[in-house]
């Protein structure tokens, strides 16, 4: 039903527990059905590693959606930043400079989004649909439509590096997500993010610098997309100009599965972590079970709805 009206607000904490149980249930079920293939460190590590970059995008998206906004541009910004990183490394030979370039580029796109949303008062959906086209088109212009290859020292360096057996990229994404989870829950920045999404006018009257804050939030989402671009370049070795058209929907879905409301004001990063994991686990589990691709689509869709239903149903039982 609509997110407005009398329904009592969710308590982030409780929510996460329930959807987390759903995830745990899925893990147990797949482990029971494919005991020798699913619950192996090989498989789980791959799972985590495949989800890491999406997690960055979804974390940024969590902040944006909590302000009652949306960011469709993440995939385009990711690609554009990857292209910039590739070009910078090509020119300077320095992967760190490339990373800096990707971050700066991502930030710039994000700030542009924020300025248009906050100062231009244009619906976030339109703004970020526009910048999605602009960043993708821009990336294609920079590359002539051909995927750029990552220089070997990036692809074989950061792309393959491990620490304690876990890919460095996973550590980076996990660390950043953890920091942002804490920032959202415990800092003034996080508090203002919730306040704006809950009631932007009340936040404004309360003296929150709503516009500046929105610019920061979209900037953060852009920055994370820029970083994701660099990491994706390192991991896959290509800029992926055609590969990120569904990133935005994937990230938004993860955020919503994790209990964040599209209407703003509630949500947690922990929920988003689970929200990223559920579709990834489903896909992996069904592939391992050898479910045929078309059936997978059907089954993943159905289980997704069921998973969120379980969560919702628990909450409703509590409410009424």
């Amino acid at each position: 039903m609509s997110g407005r009206g009398g329904r009592p607000a969710r308590l982030g904490g409780l929510q996460v527990v329930w959807i987390g149980l759903v995830l745990a249930g899925l893990l147990v079920a797949f482990s029971a059905l494919a005991p020798r293939a699913f619950p192996t460190s090989f498989n789980l590590l791959n799972l985590v590693s495949d989800a890491a970059i999406l997690l960055l995008l979804a974390t940024g998206m969590t902040f944006v959606i909590i302000t009652a906004g949306i960011d469709l541009s993440v995939g385009g910004v990711l690609v554009f930043s990857a292209v910039v990183a590739a070009r910078v490394i090509e020119g300077t030979g320095s992967p760190p400079l490339g990373a800096a370039g990707a971050l700066a580029t991502g930030l710039a796109w994000g700030v542009l989004n924020g300025v248009l949303v906050a100062l231009g008062r244009i619906p976030a959906l339109i703004v970020t649909l526009g910048t999605l086209g602009m960043s993708l088109g821009g990336a294609l212009l920079l590359t002539g439509g051909v995927d750029l290859r990552a220089p070997a020292d990036l692809n074989l360096g950061l792309g393959l590096a491990r620490w304690l057996g876990v890919p460095l990229i996973v550590w980076i994404c996990a660390a950043i997500t953890a920091v942002l989870a804490l920032a959202l829950a415990w800092t003034r920045f996080g508090r203002h993010t919730y306040a704006i999404g809950s009631n932007a006018e009340a936040a404004r009257r309360g003296g929150v610098a709503v516009r500046r804050h929105l610019i920061k939030v979209y900037g953060l989402a852009g920055l994370l997309a820029g970083l994701a671009g660099h990491l994706s370049l390192a991991k896959y070795g290509i800029t992926g100009v055609s590969a990120h058209s569904t990133d935005n929907l994937q990230a938004i879905a993860a955020v919503v599965i994790g209990g964040t409301s599209l209407f703003g004001g509630v949500g947690t990063v922990a929920g988003t972590v689970i929200g990223v994991s559920i579709p990834v686990v489903l896909q992996n589990g069904f592939q391992i079970l050898g479910v045929r691709p078309f059936w997978q689509q059907v089954v993943v869709g159905a289980v997704l709805v069921a998973a969120v239903y379980v969560d919702q149903w628990r909450r409703r039982a509590r409410d009424q």
Binding site: G6, A9, A183, Y194, A195, G197, R205, G207
Partner: protein, 255 residues
């Protein structure tokens, strides 16, 4: 009279076709309680919003301490020491009472954590609880969001917030509308004690008993204009009602 704290002249404000204010005047002296009264739709809330920086007038001038100001934002009005209890309360329903109480002026943890922007939730909760209890408003749970509070509890939070932060003046737009008998009395007491501490109060209310009980002066709005001013000590309830409804239109009263 000394230079008034706030003096507004000829304020105009339209929303599309509707003229909410048609050249309204208003003045507030330092340390006084002024009741702003008028019929429904007279423009009281609109005037309060303009004087607290939430809305921009279409015309007219506002002076604070005799110097013209153009509040472009709430921050400026707050910087001038002006706080407001809005009629619609302006609370974030998803946030806790304490988060609302400290909205825009969050308390941070001491030391490094504070520099990192980490909130001191315990302190904020404590202070909110205290401020509400001073009004006689009991909050069943400090962690439940404002959307879970009763109407009166919400209003209590909003009133406590404004009163706590005001340094020069506080606008209260129907602050007791949802409050219980005891809480209403406490708010009236609070208005007096706030005034005694040197902060001016503008009370917007439809309750003439309350107006008579706490205000020093009364200003009456009708159809977007000030139609009368009274010293509370020298006016009767009938006169007030007459001025609001236009029965006494002819009497443009003393200043």
């Amino acid at each position: 009279m000394a230079v008034p704290l706030i003096a507004a002249r000829g304020i105009e404000k339209s929303y599309g076709q509707v003229e909410a204010l048609r050249g309204a005047d208003f003045s507030l002296g330092a340390g006084e309680v002024v009741a702003l009264i008028g019929d429904n739709g007279a423009g009281k809330s609109t005037l309060a919003k303009i004087l607290s920086g939430v809305e921009r007038p279409d015309g007219g001038t506002v002076e604070v301490d005799g110097a013209p100001v153009a509040f472009g934002s709430v921050e400026e009005a707050r910087a001038a020491g002006i706080e407001t209890v809005y009629q619609d309360l302006a609370l974030c329903a998803d946030l806790s009472p304490a988060a609302n109480f400290f909205l825009g002026r969050e308390r941070l943890r001491p030391g490094l954590l504070g520099l990192l922007g980490v909130l001191d939730n315990a302190a904020m909760r404590r202070e909110t609880q205290e401020a509400c209890e001073r009004l006689g408003v009991r909050l069943a749970s400090q962690s439940a969001p404002v959307s879970a509070l009763s109407g009166g509890q919400r209003q209590g939070v909003a009133v406590a917030r404004a009163v706590t932060w005001a340094r020069r003046a506080v606008f209260m737009d129907e602050p007791t509308a949802a409050l219980g008998v005891v809480q209403t009395r406490r708010v009236l007491d609070l208005i007096r004690s706030v005034r005694d501490s040197g902060v001016s109060v503008v009370l917007i209310s439809h309750n003439m008993q309350d107006v008579m009980a706490v205000s020093d002066r009364v200003e009456v709005l009708r159809l977007g204009r000030r139609v009368a001013r009274f010293d509370t000590a020298r006016v009767s309830m009938e006169e007030l009602v007459g001025a609001m409804t236009g029965v006494l239109e002819q009497w443009e009263s003393q200043g």
